[in-house]
């Protein structure tokens, strides 16, 4: 045993003089940092603040007596996530164990920091997600209805959550719903732009190219702010909620990026296939819809999943139009003078949640990439 450990150390940390020197510098620094962090997390940090403001962090200022609507959204999101997982990941023992333990951990945390009901609801939502995962994976019918099911799910969330008013939406729930809605909206728009950029019709090509290049050169925050300003000018008689204006801005911005991903996918389809389809007298529409797009989209799925992370990270920018997303809620809690000493607790929690979600999206994107690479070999 000792020999193995020593061998490992020697091979990985002290194999050359330079590596040994590096190790001698890094190990003490790292030990000091890890010890300090662990001591702070376990002994000094006041984690009650997270438990006390968990409701605000998750749903913002959503009315407390209407919280069942938010729980409905959580359950629907879990089912949608599970269904999406069913398309790409086999519910093997290892994967199920990871998901089940994550669900148990989260429900335990929810039960201990708030109340028993929340814990039960988290557990039920996680169970629904796992059921959707297994159900979709094992039934052909399930796989066919996943995509329409996702749209129905988003629509249902909007219908159920909207009665208290869009202004009441906030917290992590707002960030997640915004991300999902925008991801869905950008795909058709992005495909159209990509096809336009490849079109044989010059005017269409020029317009699409200019749109894509201009949007890609300006910051997201500018586009979101601009759309937010301009919508009331275009529709002076109706008041469009900030949330919907924000979503429109995000969709207009990210569509240009989706278009570029799709274009790379379109270019990956061999030219011979298009020529072959044309020689079979298929119309341009049929060539695009039946031959080119299915293959092109298959190639770009990992990039599109990766883009969901960009949208989720970009969702923090909605502070500019006065929405209270996850990060903004955290800052609002810290703005309360009572909590001024809890800066690090709040930020560590925000970082941890963002990293958990972001890491999961990155992992999914990489898995899909590997999966597709294996399939095409």
């Amino acid at each position: 045993m000792t020999a193995t450990v020593l061998g490992w150390l020697r091979y990985n940390l002290f194999s050359k003089p330079f590596d040994a020197a590096l190790s001698l510098v890094v190990i003490p620094l790292l030990t000091w940092a890890v010890y300090g962090l662990a001591h702070w997390i376990l002994a000094e940090a006041h984690w009650e603040i997270i438990g006390g403001s968990l409701k605000v962090l998750m749903t913002g200022l959503y009315p407390v007596d209407q919280l069942w609507r938010a729980w409905f959204a959580v359950a629907t999101l879990c089912a949608m996530f599970g269904a999406g997982l069913g398309l790409s990941l086999r519910p093997g023992r290892a994967a199920l164990t990871v998901v089940a333990s994550a669900g148990t951990l989260m429900s335990a945390v929810a039960a201990s920091v708030t109340d028993m009901t929340s814990g039960m609801l988290v557990a039920a939502s996680a169970g629904l997600g796992v059921a959707a995962w297994i159900g979709v994976h094992h039934s052909a019918l399930g796989q066919r209805i996943v995509l329409p099911g996702l749209l129905v799910g988003v629509a249902a969330i909007f219908v159920v959550l909207s009665p208290p008013g869009f202004e009441a939406w906030g917290g992590l729930l707002l960030s997640v719903i915004l991300t999902i809605t925008v991801s869905i909206l950008t795909i058709p728009f992005g495909i159209l732009l990509a096809l336009g950029r490849q079109s044989r019709i010059t005017s269409l090509r020029v317009i699409s190219t200019v749109y894509i290049e201009v949007i890609r050169s300006v910051p997201l925050i500018l586009v979101v702010y601009w759309v937010w300003i301009i919508v009331p000018l275009l529709a002076p008689d109706t008041s469009v909620p900030s949330l919907l204006r924000g979503m429109a801005g995000f969709a207009l911005f990210f569509a240009a990026y989706v278009a570029e991903y799709v274009r790379s996918g379109l270019q990956a389809v061999p030219k011979g296939q298009i020529e072959a389809a044309r020689s079979l007298a298929m119309s341009s529409w049929a060539v695009n819809v039946d031959i080119v797009l299915p293959q092109a989209l298959r190639v770009v799925v990992p990039s599109l999943v990766g883009q969901i992370l960009d949208i989720f990270n970009g969702a923090t920018l909605v502070f500019i139009i006065g929405l209270t997303d996850f990060l903004r809620v955290g800052q609002m809690i810290l703005a309360d003078p009572q909590n001024s000493g809890r800066t690090y607790e709040i930020y560590v929690f925000l970082f941890a949640v963002y990293f958990a979600i972001g890491g999961a999206i990155t992992y999914a994107s990489r898995r899909l990439e590997a999966h597709l690479a294996r399939g095409s070999r």
């Binding site: 990985n12 940390l13 194999s15 050359k16 330079f18 590596d19 590096l22 190790s23 890094v26 190990i27 790292l30 019709i201 010059t202 005017s203 269409l204 317009i207 201009v214 890609r216 050169s217 300006v218 910051p219 997201l220 925050i221 500018l222 702010y225 601009w226 300003i229 301009i230 009331p232 000018l233 275009l234 002076p236 020529e275 044309r278 020689s279 992370l309 989720f312 990270n313 970009g314 969702a315 923090t316 920018l317 502070f319 500019i320 990060l327 800052q331 810290l334 800066t343 690090y344 930020y347 925000l350 970082f351 963002y354 990293f355 972001g358 890491g359 999206i361 990155t362």
Partner: protein
């Protein structure tokens, strides 16, 4: 393609003309729809503004700004000489936007330089033979890339920079660097007033010959130029050097002297440099891994050390591969500086927001800001394309 041309010739002329006409009609229809959409947008916005009594015009740019910015220089003139002076409320709105652009450029240029260096180090670190270094770099890259940039910026500002010691107790690092919550103070260069024309001329000669020796090839010429530079420098020092190191000093009333960097800029720069370094590291790592393994093996068999191989064989080639990806990263980085508004850094977007709040002229401002960001993106890609053409083009060594 040939089948299409053959088919085209088999179509009777009348139908061929019809097809050409219909294609033109389609083009015209698309252009008309697009133009109509833009015109409707413009018209609706004008109507809406007219109802509020606002005309679309750029006159407001010449009006006095009447607000102040925490930092930012504007071009002005001192007699006949163009100079940069700090922005003040008596300047006009255009100068306010220029001050914002100055701040954007200040952060973007420093961040581009710093993130290239740190990113390359971290990218190389990700391939280190030392397990600890490799995984630390991996953790840094993943942690940065999987969390939003905005939370990193507000974290650096509210949780790090604002928790530095107060200005009157600023901590002194490495002798010349003062760190406090009122900002970071770097040693600067100060011009001593006693310096005459002769010392400046000598210094100019020294700098010019040193620069020429770097640019010109040929060993003998280089040596003589360097000798001239050294002599001129010694002569300057002998009759009184015109530049002095200006070390910042912490006093009871805050830090004084040196080159001051505001706390907002410090936080924004830290956040953007750390964030972009992670992306640059991934670009560099991908490029190193894309090089054939045989190159490492060949240089190892020639007896070159790993560090030597990296420096002289791998990195020069990597530099060529990464240029297009780096250009994209630099453009994203420049756009990212607009997030400075979250911590009150007066960049272009932030100043635009202030100006529009003061004057109610959002749309004119949007046009200006959009065109400026477009121009910045184009300038960066033009520069990178020029470098790319130089190192990868027909005259390059590849």
């Amino acid at each position: 393609m040939t089948t299409q041309i053959a088919r085209w010739h088999h179509i009777p002329p009348t139908r061929r003309r019809f097809r050409v006409a219909s294609r033109w009609l389609l083009q015209a229809a698309i252009v008309a729809v697009a133009a109509g959409l833009v015109a409707w947008l413009g018209f609706a916005v004008r109507e809406a503004l007219a109802r509020k009594g606002i005309q679309f015009s750029f006159d407001y740019l010449g009006k006095v700004a009447n607000f102040s910015l925490s930092e930012g220089l504007v071009p002005s003139h001192d007699g006949n000489w163009p100079v940069l002076e700090p922005f003040s409320p008596s300047h006009n709105n255009l100068q306010a936007l220029l001050a914002g652009l100055w701040n954007t450029l200040k952060v973007a240029v420093s961040a581009i330089a710093l993130c290239t260096v740190f990113g390359t180090l971290v990218g190389v670190g990700r391939l280190s033979t030392n397990w600890l270094v490799r995984n630390l770099c991996f953790g840094l890259v993943e942690g940065v890339r999987n969390t939003p940039l905005l939370i990193q910026i507000v974290f650096w500002y509210f949780a790090v920079v604002l928790h530095f010691p107060p200005a009157n107790a600023a901590s002194n690092w490495l002798g010349g660097l003062l760190v406090s919550r009122a900002g970071v103070f770097l040693p600067g260069l100060a011009i001593s007033e006693s310096a005459g024309l002769a010392t400046w001329a000598l210094l100019a000669v020294a700098l010019a010959s040193a620069a020429a020796s770097l640019l010109l090839r040929g060993t003998r010429l280089r040596l003589s130029l360097l000798a001239i530079a050294a002599c001129a420098l010694i002569a300057t020092a002998a009759i009184g050097f015109p530049l002095d190191f200006d070390l910042p000093i912490a006093t009871r009333f805050g830090a004084r002297g040196g080159f001051a960097v505001s706390p907002e800029m410090t936080a924004l720069l830290l956040a953007i440099v750390v964030n972009s370094s992670a992306y640059v590291a991934e670009i560099v790592r991908g490029a190193i891994e894309s090089l054939p393994k045989g190159q490492w093996e060949a240089s190892a068999s020639l007896g070159l050390s790993r560090a030597h191989t990296l420096r002289d064989i791998v990195l020069p080639q990597v530099f060529r591969i990464v240029l297009p990806s780096l250009a994209n990263r630099y453009i994203s980085l420049t756009k990212d500086t607009s997030l400075g508004i979250a911590i009150g850094f007066p960049d272009l977007f932030n100043v635009y927001g202030t100006v529009s709040n003061q004057t109610g002229r959002n749309l004119e401002g949007v046009v200006i800001v959009m065109l400026t960001y477009l121009a910045l993106s184009w300038i960066i890609s033009a520069c990178m394309n020029a470098i790319n053409a130089r190192v990868n083009g027909p005259g390059g060594s590849r």
